[in-house]
Amino acid sequence: MTRSRAAGLWPLLLLTLVAGCRGCPSPFPPIHIVPNMDHQEKAQPQGESAFFYDGMVMRAPLAGTVARGDLDRAPSLATGRDASGEILAASPIELDEVVLARGEERYAIYCQPCHDPRGNGRGILFEYGSVPTPSFHDEQRRGYSDGRVFDIITHGSGLMQGYAWPIPPEDRWAIVAHVRRLQQERVTAEAVAMAP
């Protein structure tokens, strides 16, 4: 009698063990029986290292160092400034359809989430998080020089981070060209709207 009742409890216990553990978070990392060189004694990009005090294996480049290829670009193209350190008035690159298409594509990747496709500053981040983003189409920003726009993309402005790291200078100038086109289209549209 007792034995059979106890036997009847076994499936319940098993069920509790198996089902009860499902969905429970474990404080331990997963079991990994065969190491198989999945984790190696080398420094991976963006990895951590116990050697450096900040825990990063990536080290910032030292001031004044010049890597191979760093001088391939004209300094004004790379920095957006002329020899005396003044911000350029006009874009140093030749504009054509390829550059404009590239600018539109890069804009869609890096700028659109905040600035929206038209440059009104009502991107998806504004919708979700009410991140205040200025429009390109006010008087002040229409008056910015090409170099000023490039400088803002490079170093950021206000809440905006600098985008020098993910976007090479040529692409930044292409985005500048695209922003200029958006502004120009709005000016033309406003003029048409005012005309009749």
Binding site: F28, P29, P30, I31, H32, I33, P35, N36, M37, D38, H39, Q40, E41, K42, A43, Q44, P45, Q46, G47, E48, S49, A50, F51, D54, G55, M56, V57, M58, R59, A60, P61, L62, A63, G64, T65, V66, A67, R68, G69, D70, L71, G162, A164, W165, P166
Partner: protein, 1030 residues
């Protein structure tokens, strides 16, 4: 013509059929290779396994937690995973090597040559390749020490400021600086500033191994201390007199490249230079010689004198009164050859020879019209030269209490100064001694202050190569520890202030007055201040980006070489020469001890570099030791065998080293490498080999005459690789004389008959599309310098296994250099034979792998899939070329954190139980292929360069697409000298060799034909090889 295969031998034991080497030939896995290390019994193993199994469910099997640590503000131009290249310069005594360093996310990982550097043209030495390991050396000095206690730089600067007034008051009469010799504009400027501030201070250059004797000899002959710049590519006859200009001599990278250029024979009507070598110790240069005369050290000066008198050129050397101990026919042939090539010959003497010999060599070069053609002299600007006399005088003053503050810049006299100078006693008499060094070495442990030095990859600087090229030392990473450079230290001592804080790129720094409390100039400021002067004199540079362009290129390209220094007309060495160093007593039983600069650890500065310690020496194939090298005949006379421990005694000082018999050593000579036997060198260096410096005297630094050598009775096993990977009796290396080659251009291909018409395995792939990678190695260009071996190790994360494992035949070098001797063991001929993976199209290894861990890809690479490998080692057993390496242990498990930073992130770090081998640097191929694909083009020839090819000073290695008929590798493979190893197996190797050529002199040509020695088991050579492989 060419030799039969049986005439080559790897070691005397192998040639004579000594049973001790049979295991290395017959057994793929050495005795004990599969067993556990000593001291682990089967029982304890089961206990260990049981313990680890019971722990299995706990922490051991959990996946390690890894975090992503990105930049908060990512720097421009640094993409994770995309390496960048920085040009820099490695200072090396009075010379410098231009480098291009690969940086992965701001960490330097690999050193290559700077291809725009006019001296090296992109090549490097093994030392330059290995210096990346020195940067990450965990034993480097990490903190400022005061009396052995931790202190800070500020504490040191304060202490110096307290000492300063006293030295300023007496003009620095009680201040001395002992520095390693250097050629650097900034260091020279700071030394000048120091001298201006302390006019009485002494600044002395001291180095244990250097070119002081050459400088003194050429100063006597030409009026200025100088070093020769050789142009062997312009010479038809090159004579090396006790000189190792191809490996350890100053400027060797450039010299090796030019020497190889003079010996490239593209077609069967090509010509090549002829190298004669006269030396006591078997050096790499001697091994490359067409004619080599082993001659005792003290006979070399008489030989030069005899050569001079034969040529009718006054050398100023005294002729030996006694009977000539050298072969007069040999001398006659050499003299005839030199006479026939006046103005197109070159003589050079090594750094061990006395100044009088160098003066005589200058006279000979002048008399033969070589000066300005094949021999130029360097203008040693911005340099502090070595001066042992001044060094000894300074030590004397120290002992007399005349010096109160001593500054040691990189020098380590307590380890390497001649014993009779008693550097330790002198140092103890100084009140304040300051030592700047990479390690807390023998000297650093004894000084009042020890300051950690920054590695050259950590600090700004500049350096001049001997051809005059000034290079910038650009840092690749911020100092890992508290290190600072000699420039930064001298800026403190010389009182150079930092420029007032303006714009970082400000050019108006010198206008303003110094601030009231001047900060010492940073290394960058000091170097910029020097270069403002250098660039100011070169107007054209302003147009070209100026300083940024110099840093980018790594050198100032417009102010480079010059056509030699002006020489005082007719200054032959007419003055009475100093007595030749170390005159020997007439006794015949006394031996000469020659102290050799090590091709691995040099003077001891690379002693803590495990790559160099494990690098088999080019000639002896010894690792992890500095044995006493003896000629076979001398060893027989003394009754010594290999690995017998002997006591070498000079006066009352003695050392104990094992014997290593080296064919080709001069009789009556025992040679030991310097730089070993460190006490405070670091974990790798300490206790390896014996320190020979105590036997040295200041008068004759490289020769101790009349030493006693006696057996101590015991033996010490030497870890050496000369019998490893033997392919006995088969025509592995092929060579011919230039004349024979002209008559039979196809000699190499016809050296073996290929018996099979069908391959052993079905050929399923035709390899006719895309890129098909192949390599050629020109044995005629290869000098055997080992740069490729270290380059491969650095690129491919090849582990170091240690002395015991090398002894068991478990060394891991993917690329080994086999050294073969041929002929008379008193004066053998040598062939170097680099062996990487052959990348066979019909690879025998692939057929036997049960888990397809080694397979072929569509581009002809025999690839390893590491994580499929279960370690059966069948592939290794089946490889006819013995190029596979097995991880018997987890050699990388305990890699210190800092050393992990050196590993190439693009290459797997292999674990225990995994087979590995050369992959033709497949990661480099893929990196370039991705880059080309992004640019929507195909790869250009020469775009992919393997690590070994890139490092090679003599450009012996070509690599590329063999389907592209215009590629360098396809053209090399079309040469008649091209042959593949073990052709008869029809494995279709992608790596092929260009046979070696020799250019013997007509009159000595018959001695070139040596009778063959049948090696042990030579019967195998004639057997049909297909049978034993099938």
């Amino acid at each position: 013509m060419s030799r039969a295969a049986q005439e080559y031998w790897r070691s005397r034991e192998q040639r004579d059929g000594d049973p001790s080497v049979r295991p290395f030939v017959e057994r793929e896995f050495q005795e004990g290779a599969s067993e556990l290390p000593e001291g682990v019994s089967r029982r304890s193993l089961i206990q260990l396994v049981g313990a680890s199994l019971s722990l299995a469910g706990l922490a051991a099997c959990r996946r390690p937690v890894e975090h992503i640590v990105p930049f908060v503000r990512a720097p421009e131009d640094m993409l994770p995973g995309i390496p960048r290249l920085f040009a820099t310069t490695m200072p090396s005594g009075l010379d410098a090597v231009g480098l291009l360093v690969t940086s992965h996310e701001g960490r330097p990982t690999k050193i290559e040559g700077n291809e725009v550097h006019p001296a090296s043209l992109g090549a490097t030495s093994a030392w330059a390749q290995a210096s990346i390991l020195d940067l990450y050396d965990p034993d480097r000095s990490q903190q400022v020490l005061h009396q052995g206690q931790r202190a800070s730089w500020q504490a040191f600067v304060d202490a110096w400021r307290a000492l300063e007034p006293e030295h300023l008051a007496d003009g620095g009469a009680r201040l001395a600086v002992i520095t390693r010799p250097f050629a650097s504009p900034t260091l020279a400027r700071l030394i000048a500033a120091l001298r201006a501030r302390f006019p009485q201070a002494r600044v002395v250059g001291y180095e244990p191994v250097g070119d002081e004797l050459i400088l003194r000899g050429l100063e006597a002959a030409t009026g200025a201390p100088t070093l020769p710049l050789l142009h062997p590519e312009r010479a038809r006859v090159v004579v090396a007199i006790d000189s190792d200009f191809l490996l350890t001599g100053t400027g060797s990278v450039a010299h090796a490249r030019r020497f190889a250029d003079g010996r490239r024979v593209a077609s069967s009507d090509g010509t090549m230079s002829r190298l004669w070598s006269i030396e006591a110790v078997h050096s790499l240069t001697g091994a490359n010689a067409d004619h080599r005369l082993p001659l005792r050290s003290d006979q070399i000066a008489p030989f030069v004198a005899a050569l001079g008198s034969r040529l009718g050129i006054g050398t100023g050397l005294a002729l030996d009164a006694g009977p000539a101990t050298f072969d007069s026919a040999w001398l006659e042939a050499l003299a005839a050859d030199l006479e026939a090539h006046r103005g197109a010959s070159l003589l050079t003497a090594g750094r061990r020879q006395a100044p009088a010999v160098h003066a005589a060599i200058h006279a000979l070069n002048q008399g033969l019209g070589n000066l300005g053609v094949t021999v130029e002299y360097a203008r040693l600007a911005d340099a502090v030269l070595p001066d042992t006399t001044a060094f000894a005088a300074t030590l004397e003053s120290m002992r007399a209490g005349e010096i109160s503050t001593l500054l040691l810049l990189g020098a380590n006299p307590l380890y390497d100064a001649p014993a009779e100078l008693d550097a330790a006693g002198a140092l103890a008499a100084v009140e304040t001694s300051i030592h700047l060094g990479l390690h807390t070495d023998e000297t650093g442990a004894a000084t009042t202050w020890h300051l950690p030095e920054a590695h050259f990859l950590e600090a700004w600087g500049d350096a001049r190569a001997i051809d005059g090229t000034v290079g910038v030392v650009q840092p690749l990473i911020a100092p890992l520890y508290e290190g600072r450079s000699a420039i930064e230290l001298l800026a403190v001592i010389a009182g150079e202030a930092a420029p007032p804080p303006t714009l970082p790129e400000g050019e108006t720094a010198d206008a303003a007055a110094p601030p009231p409390t001047p900060e010492p100039a940073s290394g960058y400021d000091a170097v910029r201040a020097t270069w403002r002067q250098i660039l100011g004199t070169t107007q054209s540079l302003a147009l070209d980006g100026g300083w940024e362009r110099v840093v980018h290129d790594g050198l100032l390209s417009s102010a480079t070489s010059w056509a030699g220094i002006p020489l005082a007309a007719g200054t032959g060495a007419t003055a009475a020469p100093p007595a030749s160093a170390g005159a020997r007593s007439a006794s015949d039983v006394a031996l000469d001890l020659v102290l050799v600069d090590s091709p691995r650890v040099f003077d001891g500065r690379y002693a803590n570099n495990a790559w160099l310690q494990e690098l088999p020496d080019a000639i002896t194939k010894v690792t992890w030791d500095n044995p006493a090298m003896l000629a076979p005949a001398t060893a027989a006379e003394l009754g010594l065998r290999n690995e017998d421990l002997v006591r070498i005694a000079a006066g009352d000082r003695q050392i104990e080293v094992p014997v290593w018999i080296v064919p080709g050593m001069a009789p009556g000579t025992v040679a030991v490498e310097l730089g070993y036997g460190r006490a405070f060198g670091g974990r790798v260096a300490d206790g390896v080999g014996a320190n020979v410096y105590p036997l040295r005297s200041a008068d004759a630094p490289y020769l101790v005459a009349g030493v006693r050598v006696e057996r101590s009775g015991s033996r010490r096993e030497i870890a050496q690789t000369q019998d490893h990977g033997s392919m006995e009796g088969r025509p592995i290396v092929r060579e011919a004389t230039l004349e024979a080659y002209r008559a039979h251009p196809e000699f190499a291909r016809k050296a073996v008959e290929v018996p099979h018409t069908r391959a052993l395995w079905k050929e399923e792939w035709s390899y006719e599309q895309g890129y098909q990678w192949g390599m050629t190695i020109d044995l005629n260009a290869c000098t055997g310098c080992n740069a490729c071996v270290i380059a491969c190790q650095a690129e491919n994360n090849v582990p170091v296994v240690g002395r015991d494992e090398v002894r068991r035949g478990r060394e891991m070098h993917w690329l080994r250099i086999d050294r073969y001797f041929a002929g008379d063991e008193a004066a053998p001929q040598t062939v170097f034979h680099p062996v990487p993976c052959m990348q066979c199209e019909n690879a025998p290894c692939e057929q036997v792998c049960p888990v397809t861990a080694t397979v072929h890809d569509a581009e002809g690479l025999n690839v390893m899939v590491y994580n499929r490998c279960i370690g059966t080692r069948y592939c290794l057993n089946n490889c006819p070329y013995k190029v596979r390496r097995f991880n018997y242990f987890n050699f990388t498990k305990h890699t210190p954190q800092v050393l992990r930073l050196q590993n190439n992130p693009d290459v797997t770090v292999r674990s225990r139980g995994v087979m590995e081998k050369c992959t033709y640097c497949t990661q480099r191929i893929n990196e370039r292929k991705i880059a080309a694909k992004l640019e929507e083009r195909t790869l250009r020839d020469g775009e992919v360069r393997t690590a070994c090819q890139q490092a090679c000073p003599s450009q012996a290695i070509q690599f590329g697409n063999i389907l592209d008929g215009a590629s360098a590798v396809a053209q090399a493979k079309a040469e008649p000298r091209n042959y593949t190893l073990l052709d008869e197996l029809l494995t279709k190797p992608r790596t092929s060799y260009l046979a070696k050529l020799r250019n013997p002199h007509q009159e000595l040509a018959e001695t070139h034909q040596v009778e063959g020695h049948a090696p042990a088991g030579s019967g195998q050579a004639t057997r049909d090889h297909g049978d034993d492989s099938a």
